[in-house]
Amino acid sequence: MNTIETVENNGRPLARNAGAAVSDARAPSRAASRAAADGARATRGARLRALAGTVARRAIVPLALLALWQLAAALDLVNTTLVPPPSEVASAFWELLTSGRLTEALGISLTRIAIGLVIGIPIGLALGIAAGLFKLGEELIDATMQALRTVPFVALIPLFILWLGIGDVSKVALIAFGVTFPVYMNTFAGIRGVDAKLIEAAEVFGLNRRQLVRQVVVPGALPSILVGLRYALGLSVIALVVSETVNANSGIGALVSDARQFLQTDVVLVGIVVYSVLGLVGDGLVRILERRLLSWRGSFRGA
């Protein structure tokens, strides 16, 4: 192939000239690359400062609320047995942590969530892929899944206890059941939502069905699948809390219900905080996954 230099870059026809090299980090000259490195360091510093700023601004409201709460307790405006101040909750947290009770309970609860997710997510994914890729799969699976989806999964607790006992199995089953549907729904919708024009183009360029699924359908459905994953992690915590609250023999739920019986409101609050941190961590994990897998999306991040 011979080179034809007919068209310059749109809107910046001189981008390859030396004068513009500072703005172009890929320019080969050494001066330009040094300038680019300086620029990168400067922007990294600026980015860190901006990050610190946004973190500080986000922290203002929650810190103010905590301060108010502490103040209300100190001024005896609230019954501290029922509403212990943040300082007491913190010391209860420290005590639970150092005694090893929290770690043990957390380990048990996390294991339940993990097993529930390991069962539920692949089932939801597999069913969603089967229904999304194949007409027959949709006909066989979708109506049933849509019907089951409308069952509030929490309502299944008595049934699961009857079938599976009050131990870990019924809790794990509830988590797995609850997690399956958001993964299924978003996988199915994601696959069906892949741009038909891209599929057509890929077929014109000779991709066979397997290549089409791997290179076009799966990456196209991925944003939606990750949304499903995020819902799933959130729901898994809810399923855990509900099942541990209804009958708790071990785990965070047991910690909380024991504390309730002895009116240890501070420990109850610790349990609630731990549950919400679980939800936050799950969300954060999927966000990291999204940033890594969906780096091709130049998305609007707010002005």
Binding site: M1, T6, V7, N10, G11, K197, V204, F205, Q215, L294
Partner: protein
């Protein structure tokens, strides 16, 4: 066309019928493109010109008639249709699993995008994305290149640059080219032969003499007016033609 006499045509469509439900879009259409010939297909919107291109691309199937196209053909669509999750150079190699990065870079250099191999498609301008689509179409050295209103969504200046680029690429690679467009001036700027589709058949089929390619020349104006007449538009004369008449 002397070329079509010497060698078998690159594209041969005979008696092609295409219906969508009760609507008959192509009614026994005959159409040929010689090897390395650059043909424009004009027509009012909805006349079925894109349908013909999609038949040639193998996206649609005809209900009757025969369609013969070379094994190696590729398409540039009206939208770039790049995979947003693959870097530009990977997009160029779509459907070529054996090809290496150097091949993609060569093709990108030809369309003036050597610096953009590692860019994500979402960061490209409309013209850059469409040039990537051109690189993707040409990197497989097709015998037939199908262009489906590829510049309709671009601004006027970018479109003029793209015309020059397409013409240069065609001269370098010599595929047979069919460009579907509703823009008479675009057809005259690019093609060696201009055809007009109406009522499901080819109504007009005329070579563009080299002398008529220049805007403002007498041949250009006459052919332009004939084409606009065929398309059902009362042809206004271009400003520079008017100047000459005065």
């Amino acid at each position: 066309m002397s070329a079509t006499v010497a060698a078998p045509p690159a594209v041969r469509a005979a008696g092609v019928v295409k219906r969508f439900g009760a609507r008959e879009v192509l009614r026994g259409l005959d159409f040929e493109i010689g090897p390395s010939e650059f043909v424009a297909l004009l027509g009012p919107s909805g006349c079925g010109k894109t349908t013909l291109l999609r038949l040639l691309a193998g996206i649609e199937q005809a209900q009757a008639g025969t369609v013969e196209v070379p094994e190696s053909h590729s398409v540039v669509f009206q939208e770039p249709r790049l995979l947003p999750w693959q870097k530009v150079w990977k997009n160029v190699l779509l459907g070529l699993p054996g090809a290496d990065r150097a091949t993609a870079e060569r093709a990108l250099r030809e369309v003036g995008l050597a610096n953009h191999a590692d860019a994500w498609p979402v960061t490209l301008s409309g013209g850059e994305a469409q040039r990537t689509a051109l690189a993707r179409a040409l990197v497989r050295e097709p015998q037939l290149l199908l262009l489906d209103e590829p510049f309709a969504a671009l601004d006027a200046l970018t479109r003029i640059r793209m015309h020059a680029l397409v013409r240069a690429l065609w001269e370098a690679h010599r595929p047979a080219v069919l460009i579907v467009t509703h823009d008479v001036d675009e057809a005259l700027a690019l093609a060696d032969r201009v055809t007009v589709m109406r009522d499901g058949v080819i109504q007009l089929d005329e070579p563009v003499p080299a002398a008529a390619r220049t805007r403002g020349s007498a041949g250009f104006e006459a052919l332009r007016r004939r084409l606009l007449d065929q398309l059902g538009v009362a042809a206004p004369t271009t400003p520079d033609a008017e100047e000459r008449h005065q």
